[in-house]
């Protein structure tokens, strides 16, 4: 084993975060812990960038079989121990099954059942994208967490775990995630998979008390996925004598692929497994940002993207996978419309977008693949940013409800602007998410059923984002904005991610043509079943004149600045129209408006000159869509589809 740049970077990316996590756990002073986190972030970010520039490479660890098996046994034992402690019989059962499978594999290996030995870790373009996301967005969120957890711990209930434990799992998670995306050997992959499950469990249960139940639910569903995964790996070892992704794709083994996909669905919280992600929103916001939007849930979609290109022959299986993704996309968007809790809206939106990625992966054409890559990238940055903003807003106003978020444009202009950038990037051209959604629609065009879901889903997406964007920038007239003071760590991460969103938005077509298009061509180079039409659509998408959108936005801002910004006088300000019964004075005066930031209601004079409040809320369509009933129906349909998926696999 030589020491090459690649090997060093690999080791750094996986091991350094774990080491720093241990340092953070044991450090007695907050300042030391913060310093070590910052140091770790810088190192990991640098390593991530460097490994992306390195050409694709492979790495084989001597003795990795034994190390991987020991680690796997270890992690399953830990989960078993936790399950026994919390007395959840299902998890105990599933962990025992996992343990049994691993022992069976050990027995098989020792009784001469040879397995094709391949390299353990590798980087290829898909891996590099995810490494970039984990190593750049991850540390930024870690820096945010330093600032956020300071005030979080002050209000934490007595059952909360210590900051040391929090940061151990938080930072170590970065290493596990990097290992997960770089693993080619499925044993290592399952180990990292279970490790991220463990991190998720510990982090969700950070505050103790009520959140333990949600953490348990997350553990249950993720362990179910993990069990499916190890069974799939065992099948692969027994039937096809291989235990790597490469082997899986070469052997075109459908059953293990389907089991891996089921595991991916649980990790990515697609229907019917979405309840754990909603419950996980009880965790502190940095956890939601890092694990449950930007990185861990992406592991599931990464897995689907990795295995599906080799299985385009199994059209029925692909169709069912696409259907689950599309159903999730539309169903989660439908449910998001009814939510007024900000984090739940973000959770449903995440689930929805992950469903779209899986749908694109199942369609298996160049444009769909590129769309999936684009969604993964742009969504990670935007959603991470949004969670950070919601965390900051929640700390300032003390509420997670969207209805309470009116008037923050004046009180926290920087945070609100950043949140606006984040939300607009999820929804509007010229940002990346819209371009990816556009590509997804174009890619699904040949399958009408999927198309209907995608169309309905995107219409609903516009609906719930517009409501929220409108609400946070309701304000009255103020001659000057408030100067906002923020914890520097939080400020740094918000501004950096916002800049990231803006830059990737401006450069989205460039990124598409420079990175995603070549990756797609490489992946699909060997495919002969892609018609010219599909390639033409793919190329035409890359030629889109996104510059016109930016020019338009620029013209609007320029016209606004020239004609309005400098000429707007206070004497031109008027009161809103309340049929003349405004409770404020009849003309605008500075003092009258300082008390009027509450935007839930509008004070007006009623009979006897009594001041009453009128209240207009945003539409949640609660008469149409009952969340519980809709969830039950959607879950039912999704379970039927999962069973069909498993059935299709056995038939082939």
């Amino acid at each position: 084993m030589e020491i090459t740049n690649f090997n060093v970077l690999l080791a750094v990316l996986i091991i350094v975060p774990v080491v720093f996590g241990i340092v953070a756990y044991f450090s007695p002073w907050d300042k030391l812990r913060s310093l070590s986190i910052v140091l770790c972030s810088v190192i990991v970010a640098a390593a991530g960038l460097l490994i992306t520039i390195e050409p694709n490479n492979k790495f084989e660890l001597p003795g990795s079989e034994m190390i991987a098996t020991i680690l796997e046994v270890g992690i399953v034992a830990v989960i078993l121990f936790i399950a026994v402690k919390i007395k959840n019989w299902l998890i105990i059962l599933m962990s025992l099954v996992q343990m049994g499978v691993i022992i069976a594999e050990i027995i098989l290996a020792n009784t001469g059942h040879t397995v094709a030995h391949t390299y353990d870790f590798a980087t290829d373009p898909l891996t590099k994208i995810l490494i970039l996301i984990t190593s750049i967005v991850g540390p930024i969120i870690a820096v945010y967490a330093i600032g956020y957890m300071k005030s979080h711990q002050e209000h934490a209930p007595p059952t909360a775990a210590s900051l040391g434990q929090f940061f151990f799992f938080f930072i170590a998670f970065l290493g596990f995630m990097n290992g997960l995306v770089m693993a080619n050997n499925l044993k290592w992959f399952s180990f990292f998979w279970e490790a991220t499950t463990l991190c998720s469990y510990m982090l969700i249960g950070q505050d103790g008390g009520e959140s333990k139940k949600n953490a348990e639910r997350a553990l249950l569903i993720n362990t179910f996925g993990g069990t499916a995964m190890v069974i799939g790996v065992l099948w692969l070892v027994v039937e096809n004598k291989t235990e790597s992704f490469e082997g899986l794709l070469l052997a075109k083994a459908v059953i293990p692929m389907v089991l891996l996909c089921v595991a991916a669905f649980t990790k990515s919280a697609l229907l019917p497994f979405q309840s754990w992600l909603l419950g996980a929103m009880i965790a502190p916001t940095p956890v939601s940002a890092l694990l449950h939007s930007a990185t861990m849930v992406k592991a599931g979609s990464y897995l689907v993207l990795r295995v599906t290109p080799g299985f385009h022959d199994s059209t029925k299986v692909m169709m069912v996978i696409t259907f689950i993704g599309a159903l999730t996309f539309a169903g989660a968007a439908l449910l998001a419309v009814t939510q007024s809790n900000a984090k739940r809206v973000l959770a449903y939106s995440t689930i929805s977008n992950l469903g779209l990625v899986v749908a694109c992966a199942g369609i298996n054409t160049p444009l769909a693949y590129a769309a999936a890559l684009a969604i993964i990238c742009f969504h990670a940055i935007s959603k991470g940013l949004l969670f950070l903003c919601v965390g900051r807003i929640e700390q300032k106003i003390g509420s997670r409800d969207i209805e309470d978020m009116g008037g923050i444009l004046y009180r926290m202009p920087v945070t609100t602007s950043v949140a606006l950038i984040g939300m607009m990037s999820m929804l509007l051209p010229p940002f990346g998410m819209l371009l990816s959604k556009w590509m997804a629609i174009e890619a699904t065009i040949r399958s009408p059923l999927i198309l209907i879901f995608i169309i309905l889903g995107s219409a609903l997406t516009v609906f719930f984002w517009s409501k929220w964007i409108g609400r946070i920038q309701t304000s009255s007239y103020h001659p000057k904005f408030n100067k906002e003071t923020m914890d520097p760590a939080m400020g740094f991460s918000l501004v950096t991610l916002a800049l990231g969103v803006l830059l990737t938005g401006v450069g989205s077509m460039w990124i598409f043509n420079k990175f995603f298009a070549p990756i797609t061509r490489e992946v699909f180079a060997s495919r002969t079943d892609i018609s010219d039409v599909l390639w033409n659509v793919f190329t035409a998408a890359g030629n889109f004149a996104a510059v016109t959108l930016f020019v338009a936005v620029g013209i609007a801002f320029l016209a606004y600045w020239l004609l309005v910004w400098r000429r707007f006088k206070e004497s031109d300000v008027r009161l809103p129209y309340l049929c003349g019964e405004n409770a404020e004075s009849t003309v605008y005066t500075t003092s009258a408006f300082h008390n009027s930031e509450g935007t839930r209601s509008y004070a007006f004079r009623s009979m006897g000159d009594k001041i009453e409040n009128s209240w207009s809320s945003t539409t949640y369509l609660k008469n149409f869509i009952c969340e519980k009933k809709a969830t039950i129906w959607l879950n039912l349909i999704a379970w039927v589809i999962i069973i069909i998926l498993l059935g299709e696999a056995h038939l082939l």
Partner: protein, 288 residues
Amino acid sequence: MMDKINWTQWIIIAVSLVAAPFIGALISGLDRKVTARMQGRKGPPVIQPFYDIIKLFSKQPVALHKLQILYAFLHLVFMMLVVVLLAMGQDLLMILFAHAFSTICLVLGGMSVRSPYSRIGSMRKIMQMLAYEPILILIIVAIYLQTDSFLASSVMNMPKPMLWSMPLLFLAFLCAVAIKLNKSPFDVSTSHHAHQELIKGITVEYAGPYLGIIEIAHFYETAILFFIIMVFWQTNLYIGFGLETLAFVAILILDNTFSRLTTTWMLKYMWSIPLFLSIANIIWLWSK
């Protein structure tokens, strides 16, 4: 990236940008005149919208705060962008998204002020968008199924008129046009005449030149919509013009005979009958 646009294309873009609001204003004026005649009265002159706009720009620029004005500008600029993209023959889905962006900016402008009428009008406008967007996307899908391309310029190359292959979609599109032009029974968010409920809805807090900007954007939108109706018979644009006139009269009759219905009715209706018709048309095209 895009190929260099030659001079002809620049001229077409410039002419479209300048001509579209004039055409839209004339259509609006004609709308009011014909409505008046239907009601047995004389009605304003056909160029009345021009007088309205000029008057609006000479009024004092009153507003509630500066942010809503920015949204009015964005609304207008993106509507102009839709015209430009159509003239360049660009990707239809992107044109649709630019149009949606424009409407969303109007909605956000309405929501950015602390006014209950404005807020309710914005909510209803979003519901309107929810109601008609699936149909528009399905039209684009139908075009793709026939031409294998998403570009607007490929529509002009189709051998047969679009109306022949997309009749049900055309009917659904007429419903969508009625919603976008705020005609009864869909004038739930803002309307030119009916202000009993919401006192002008979204535009209630816009005045003077800012209202003028929104009105000009509305003219652009009218011109775009009627142009698309004309293009449904793209092989012979004279017949297309006749189709456009028929559609105009049909929408006017709809407007004058129906009273305003509720937003929930609009959603339920648009997501059942027109959507079902559109899906049927798509399935027919797909299986051909």
